[in-house]
Amino acid sequence: MNWRLLAMAALLPWIGRAAWAATAETRFSQTFSRSGYVHWIELYDAKGDMIDPASPDAAPYSPVHTCGRCHDYEAIRHGYHFSTGQASGDSSRRGEPWVWTDDRTGTQIPLSARGWPGTYDPAGLGISEWDLVLKFGRHLAGGGPGEGPSAAAGSDQPAAAGDPPAAAAPKDPQAPAKAGEKAEAKTPAARWRLSGQLPIDCMICHSKDRSYSPEVWSDQIASQNFAWAPTAALGLGRVEGKVSALPDDFDAASADAKAKLPKTTYFPHRVSADKKVFFDVVRTPDDRACYYCHTTRFTGAEVAPQWTHDEDVHLRAGMTCSDCHRNGIEHQTVRGFEGETSPSGQPVHTLSCRGCHVDNDGGGRLGAPRAVHKGLPLVHFDRLACTACHSGPRPGAKPVQILTSMAHGLGLPAHHYGEKLPPAMVAPVYLQAGGALAPHRMVWPAFWGALKDGKISPLNPDKVYDALRRTLRVRRGSNFTEAVSEVKLTAADKAKALGQERAGVAENELTGDEKAKLEELTAAMAADAFRKKLNEALGELKKALPADGSEPVYVAGGRAYRAGADGAEAFDHGAAEPYAWRFAHDVRPARDATGAASCFECHADDSNYFAGVVTALGPAPDGQPPESTMRQLAGYDPTMHKAWNLSFQGRTAFKFFGFASLGVLALVLLAYGALAVMAIARFVRRL
């Protein structure tokens, strides 16, 4: 009898674990079918209450409570795409940062809370989650900063589950204000209370029928209708009203509050008789969803039209982004670089270029062809990343300017897309990363900061604007660069450049040389005007700095500037160094890879891969901006490069000479080998 009791006691923990595991497995509904589940589902609001779409007071649907009924939102919210702006600990490899731009103050600060060297933590600059959402919400998938201040404080619990986003915020922060509720104080928390949270919108990626509108999503965020954005963007209903139109001290308890708060009207044709809505869900997102945030476009006069560019070879082969950039329910999307360790704990090596196309263990996924690389010396595999030859466009004499979705808002209709749209970014720039050459994109930080103990710390952009707007006087429709470099050539200036006789000639009658002279003079005067205006602004900024020995500085275009006796002085500082991050797409096929046609694409003194000149770009007018060759930026020894290139000059002749030499050697060996055989035969015969 006792042994049975003992056995039961011993088994109890196992039974408990099994029961717990069973509970964990059944917490979220699953079909485990590859056919996928047809999502005719009820809608739930931010408080978790079921929505009656026909009700005139219907709340906007909440993905947290609607999708989260069957899918583990708590696991998803820690995913890579939703940790933007929050310390996620992913400092594994630098990626594209969010670049905070302000045209009025000449600001472009690379931001990231991931700890990437060269970026700044938004929290450290006093940039709140509210600011981040308003600035970048257009290309955020929700979550992260959209969950409000409580999430940034490090709470493990999703703010959407009911925690207040700020100390002052009551009840459920995700829920937008309703008529009849008292307004909070004039704090960001009060605005969060009105806007509701911006939850992760699953449908921004998982919508299959392409009816999801990122433009509507962006508009709703700009209107501060955070909680309404998923409903409007998916086209489930119409949202009227804007939280942004409401004052900070808006009293939701007032009689007319209901009329002023945004109102949701669900479209009857989207709702079934049993009050369910069809969500056309796809498990792995379509490429177009990825491209909304991850498009890069080359810009500038020297760039060939878009239709002449080829698509990524993988997409042409029928693959999708998510074939390689995969994730499980925890949404830790694989980035696909060599040496990556996935937080999921799963090995992801075979989802990298080398793992899939070169290595023996587990490669060849989805029919990936094995890389042949005929005649390519093995040393290239140690010194070059796969992307060095296979990714992006071939470099020109200078890298071209690029626009990206995240930095420039591509994907939204606008008229201002062009090379003057800040922040100025360039690509491809070839730099060494981990000992291997790889193509990078590059941006130069520009900001106003405080120099103390040799370290430059950026100042909050809004505070800088408040301090300098009277000094800089940037008019509406203009920008910082134009405002600080505005010059008008007087008759005396023209006479100095062109001579008294030609100074009075109309501009359209000037020769090309004369026009060039005037342009040169204008640029020189603009640079002078900039230094003087900058000096004035730095003097003004000093008043806003604490009296702790901090010196006001401006960083832009690869230089740092400080106040001087006769205009601002430029000096070198690490804070002005460009921020660069590797890229891998679009991938070119083997025949179009660099070096496939000739070794001299790289092994020549004038090869753009090394001789290409990278010029610092930024809002500061600079007649002689810092320039470096890619060889310098990559840190290669120029003498060694020259020596190698020289050795390639006689390479073909050496091959012929080598074969001739080997032929002679082989003949000698054969001849004496034959003599040896004959001698042995004679010796054997004599025995």
Partner: protein, 200 residues
């Protein structure tokens, strides 16, 4: 057990660089052991035949080739042992030396082949006239030529668009070991020449 043994070459091929780093000092030690063993044996053997004096161009070619092999061995082995792989200026110097070796080897072959013909027959039946090299040096000479052919051939073939990555890897592995054999043979040959000069 058998399948494990069969898999060994496959496992080795994917770590050939690491394996060579282990094999390299062992190979050099083996060369030293051959020299030592020969030295012990010759102490108890009869006197060496009379030495034929060298002509100046023979000495020049010999010392030149030996210097090239030493330079190639140093640039390769020092880089492998110190840095794990050859690259940068080490590789450049190795490449320059390789060009010189390709030029020197056929000259060495044409000039010295006849005086390095091995004596086949019972002991004491060899020629009474003076000879230039001891038997061990002759063996080393033919080893230098054979391994030199492989060392040069593998790299020249690698420069042509014939072989893919696995083929290139095979060529590199063969090059490494043939290079090690060549360096050891050159050392043994130098020993043979030195011994000959000291003992006559």
């Amino acid at each position: 057990m058998f399948s494990d043994i069969c898999r060994l070459p496959i496992a080795a091929s994917s770590h050939s660089g690491e394996i060579f780093r282990i094999a390299l000092p062992l190979g050099l030690l083996a060369g030293a052991a051959i020299v030592l063993l020969h030295l012990v044996i010759t102490r108890f053997c009869g006197k060496a035949p009379q030495r034929r004096p060298w002509r100046w161009w023979e000495a020049l070619i010999y010392l030149g080739t030996l210097g090239i092999i030493a330079c190639l061995g140093f640039t390769a082995f020092a880089a492998v042992l110190r840095l794990g792989a050859i690259g940068g200026w080490w590789l450049f110097a190795h490449m320059c030396g390789a060009g010189a070796l390709v030029a020197a080897l056929p000259v060495l072959a044409l000039m010295w082949a006849d005086s390095n013909r091995l004596q086949i027959g019972p002991a004491g039946s060899g020629p009474a006239e003076p000879v230039q090299f001891l038997e061990i040096a002759k063996v080393a000479y033919w080893t230098i030529l054979a391994s030199g052919l492989v060392v040069s051939g593998t790299m020249i073939v690698s420069m042509l668009p014939w072989l893919g990555t696995p083929g290139q890897q095979l060529m590199l592995d063969v090059h490494r070991y043939a290079g090690l054999v060549c360096v050891v043979a050159a050392g043994v040959h130098l020993y043979g020449v030195a011994l000959r000069r000291l003992s006559s």
